[in-house]
Symmetry: C2
DNA sequence: TTGACATGAAACCCAAAGGTTTCGTAAAAT
DNA sequence: ATTTTACGAAACCTTTGGGTTTCATGTCAA
């Protein structure tokens, strides 16, 4: 329910920008108001604000108004999605368990992330 | 070293696109020529080709020419970079020590006068 | 040799992304 | 009451991104 809210931006896209990546690291140390965050970057405060909004839309940060300031804090949950996606490739690094793992995965896990519409999945009729 | 080849695109950026994400999953099942890959997507073969190049520049795939066709195969190494980056946040869901850490962080942060952390320094001159 | 197949390169389009500046407004501070 | 401070919204600009179509080239098949 709460975690899987309709996110306008997906986490992959949100993390594509280095500044944004840096920001969530910054926020990993705690809540911070916009101006303070802005102090860490060579871009305008407004630009920082926009980045924060993208992060918020991806569910990676959450804001909270305190008087005239808006504090942002990290919301790490969406990163799990990334982790999960990544785990698909685990077989490449940690073999050992990979055989078993693959069997388990074969049992119906069908991540819907970047798979795109099912139409794309048509069997290859090509050569 | 091979792994750290000069990558024009970083892995985060490469994975930002859902089609590209899908592609490397496709290739996880084995080497494949462009036209075959192309058969899985509703876009032109040329577009697919471009995506493949982005992936290649990020080091995520490698190409190999066989006669008149070019086969692409997954090169999962760069994903480790992602994994490593992600591990920075392990403390959030991988509790134990994090509980302590959070208590420390949370110490006295309730009152709104808590302009604590020195990291919040200098407000940069607003535009 | 002639022709069909596989693929990359080029030129072009349009929408989205990242920035900036300017302005408005609400909450401190004085 | 007036001025600062903190911030978002809007309008605007320029670059990048994903897509397409057309063209050129190398390779396999007849």
């Amino acid at each position: 329910m709460p975690a899987s809210a309709a996110r306008k931006h997906d986490v992959f896209q949100a993390l594509a920008d280095p500044t944004r990546r840096s920001m969530i690291r910054l926020l990993a140390d705690g809540e911070m108001p916009v101006t303070a965050i802005s102090g860490h970057y060579p871009i305008s405060r407004t630009a920082v604000s926009k980045h924060l909004r993208v992060l918020a839309e991806a569910g990676l940060v959450k804001e909270r108004k305190i008087g005239r300031e808006t504090r942002y804090r990290l919301e790490p949950d969406p990163l799990l999605e990334l982790k999960r996606w990544l785990s698909y490739f685990d077989r490449y690094w940690d073999n050992k368990l990979s055989a078993l793992k693959r069997m388990v995965e074969a049992g119906g896990e069908d991540g819907e992330d970047g798979w795109g519409p099912a139409e794309w999945r048509k069997p290859k009729k090509d050569a």
